[in-house]
């Protein structure tokens, strides 16, 4: 079957013959490897995307079920800029080490700031509670996002 949906603002079609996840579809068929496969269970957030305005794990979305939906991946968060505000803040704060969690955190944080331009620390932590980072201890990530929120 053909699935037609909006991907990073543009129309996309994909032939789906197997019960693969949206994550697999992005990687294998649509040339967007930015979202990462790290746990296949929705327990790490590395595959986070925005689906119809909601932050979800793309490994838990059936590719064949995105018909008519809007999907934004890490590749689409910056629009025409090289880096969006979240990405720039993380870069400057040293919040990237191995980088495997980074796309998921970028998407989750971009979603947060789109809904709330001045989140406090509690709100930042709650918004990122579904994103595991094994390298940084989250310190630099928090500093980046607090800085972006205009807070000390």
């Amino acid at each position: 079957m053909i699935v037609t949906f909006t991907l990073n603002g543009e129309s996309a079609n994909a032939r789906v013959e197997k019960p693969l996840s949206l994550l697999d579809l992005l990687h294998d068929e649509l040339g967007l490897p930015g979202s990462k496969a790290a746990c296949e269970q929705g327990e790490c957030g590395s595959c986070s995307v925005i689906l119809d305005g909601q932050l979800v794990c793309s490994c838990l979305v059936l590719a064949a079920d995105v018909e008519g939906s809007e999907v934004t991946t890490v590749e689409g968060v910056a629009g025409d800029d090289v880096l969006n505000g979240v990405q720039q803040a993380m870069h400057e704060a040293g919040a990237v080490q191995c980088g495997f969690c980074t796309p998921g955190i970028v998407v989750a944080a971009t979603d947060l700031f789109a809904r709330n331009p001045r989140p406090d620390l509690s709100e930042i932590k709650e918004a990122l509670a579904g994103n595991i980072c094994r390298c940084t201890g989250y310190g630099a990530i928090i500093r980046a996002l607090e800085g972006l929120a205009g807070r000390p």
Partner: protein, 264 residues
Amino acid sequence: MEVYHPTTLGEALDAVDEGAMPLAGGTDLMVETNSGHIRPEHVVGLRRVAELQAWEGNRIGSGVTWRRIEHEGPRALAQAARTVGSPQIRNAGTLGGNLGTASPAGDGHPFLVAVDAEIELVSKRGTRRLGWRDFFTGVKETARDEDELITAVRLPDDLPERQEFAKIGVRNAMVIATVCVVVTRRPDGATTVGLGSVAPTPIRAARSEEMISAIARPSQTDLDEFQRLVGAEVSPITDHRSTEAYRRHAAGVLARRLLERCLR
């Protein structure tokens, strides 16, 4: 493979009747698919069926997500919703999906059993409502027939004003409950205790309820006894997450603390 995208309940039921596997938020079904345990070739996606997301009074559509319940649900159910998975999981996962999977550790279940909720099941053959006792039949087993969809949960109209939830997990997010409990109390003393992760299905602690409901102003000694009784009434197991002894102990402690909150 065949995936249907119905927008009405009728279309959804047609698909289910033909053997399509219901897919709501995907937070359970896709885990099974990704691991290779199942290989769904025939699926009906339910997230476009507006009727399943309807929430009127105490009838909560099965398609309502944990995100909405967090903000709009009755107190103890909203408290439970806040502990489900992560923001990503709460945005996708549904009350109905949680029921369909019927894990003994399901975070929403203690509330439903504590308030004596009914589960509404619909098929092309008609509609039926099951009390939670008839609905949960075993570990990850329910009375849902293969051609039925869970369409809603019906809470009683007069929910107890005092209701409290707590869940034990070793981590502050994304954790399967070691024990989860809801306690409710009415002004006349009627108390209910719903528990999860301490038996093959969510349960009520009937003897503990009976004992404490009869006491208008429980003393510390009464609460000690209540705690002991709850611990005695549960049948937890030892697994890789926890031990029988700890779960028994924690169930009693949580029930007591939640009752104390209800009594304030």
